[in-house]
Symmetry: none
Subunit: 150 residues, 2 copies
DNA sequence: GATTTCTCCCCACATCTACCCACAATAATA
DNA sequence: TATTATTGTGGGTAGATGTGGGGAGAAATC
C-alpha cells in the first residue's frame, strides 16, 4: 500500500503503445491492484501527469461545487476535463497510451516515470533533460518563501 | 462504473443523425448499460449538454426550490425545460439527435464529445475552436479566487 | 382508413481493446 | 548458489465497440 510516490525509472512503450506501470506504483491506498485505474492529463510542464483515479476523483468532486452559471468556471472545467483521460491497467499492469497524449509530451519509445507525492510524471528522456537544463535554479528567495509554509 | 467523466473524443453523426455515445460514458454509477438514458439540453455556451438522466433529475430537484411566484424564475424554468429532451440510447449505444438541437450547436457531421464531471458537452469542432480562441484566458485573479476553495 | 414519415430493432462487418498465455528478466527467499 | 516468486515484455485472438443500412412497426399526416 502506497500513500506517497517517490523515485524515477525508465520504461519503454511496446509496439502497441502500451506502458507498463511499475508494480510499486499500482498500490495506491490499497493492496489490491486488479482493475487499477489512472487518470492521465497534460501537465503544466511538457510532460504527462498520471493520478490514481481515486485522487483525481477527489479533485473532480471539489470542482463540482463550482457554479455552472459562471462562464469562467465552465471554461476551467472544460479545459481541465478534456485533457484528462481515465485509463485502466490491463491484467499485466499496462496502460494503452492514446497517441494524442504521447504527442503532447513528445514521447516516442522511452518514458521516464517519476513518482511525485500523489501523482506520476511521464517524460520523454530528451525533453526532461532539456527542461532541467533550461530551468532557472531555485534561488534563496524561493526557499525563503517556502519557509513561510513549513 | 463511472462517477466522473473525463476526456475528449471526436465522433460523426451518421446519415440518420445518430450519435454514438462512447461506451465509456454509458456506465454512470452502474455496470449496466442497457436502456441508458441521457437528457440533452442547450448549453450556456454554444454547445449541447448531455446529462445522465439521474443527474439531470437531481438538478431538476434543485430547481423546484425556486419560488413560482417570481416571474424570472418561471421564465428560467420554462426555458430550461423546453430545451431539454430525454433521449434513450438504442441497442447499439446511439442517440437519435433532434435537428433543432443540432442547429443550435451548429453541429453538422463532426461532433467533439467532452466528458466533464457529471455531464457531457457536445461541440461542433469549428465552434469549439473559435470559442476557445475568443475566450478571455483565465487570469491570476480567477485562480486566486479558486485558491479560497481548494 | 390510407399514405407517408419516423423510430428503433436487427444484422453485418471492420476496427479496436484487453484478455490470455508464454517466457524472459529481475527480485526475494531458502 | 539454487529455487521460487514477482515483474516486465511480446504477441495471438476472442469479444467489445463503432458504423452503416434494411425493414417492421409506430406515429403522424392527409
Amino acid at each position: 500500500m502506497i500513500t506517497s510516490f517517490a523515485g524515477e525509472s525508465k520504461h519503454f512503450l511496446d509496439e502497441k503503445s502500451r506502458l507498463s506501470i511499475p508494480a510499486k506504483y499500482r498500490r495506491w491506498l490499497t493492496e489490491e491492484e486488479a482493475e487499477y485505474t489512472f487518470v492521465i492529463t497534460k501537465g503544466a510542464d511538457p510532460c504527462l501527469i498520471a493520478y490514481p483515479a481515486v485522487e483525481w476523483d477527489k479533485f473532480a468532486e471539489k470542482l463540482r461545487n463550482l457554479s455552472q452559471f459562471k462562464k469562467k468556471n465552465r471554461a476551467f472545467i472544460r479545459t481541465w476535463s478534456r485533457n484528462s483521460i481515465r485509463l485502466k491497467c490491463d491484467k499485466q499492469g499496462r496502460i494503452l497510451m492514446p497517441q494524442r497524449l504521447l504527442d503532447f509530451a513528445n514521447i516516442k519509445k522511452e518514458v521516464v516515470i517519476i513518482g511525485a507525492l500523489n501523482y506520476l510524471e511521464l517524460w520523454d528522456p530528451e525533453v526532461l533533460k532539456e527542461h532541467q537544463e533550461s530551468q532557472i535554479p531555485l534561488d534563496d528567495d524561493y526557499f525563503e518563501d517556502l519557509a513561510d509554509i513549513f
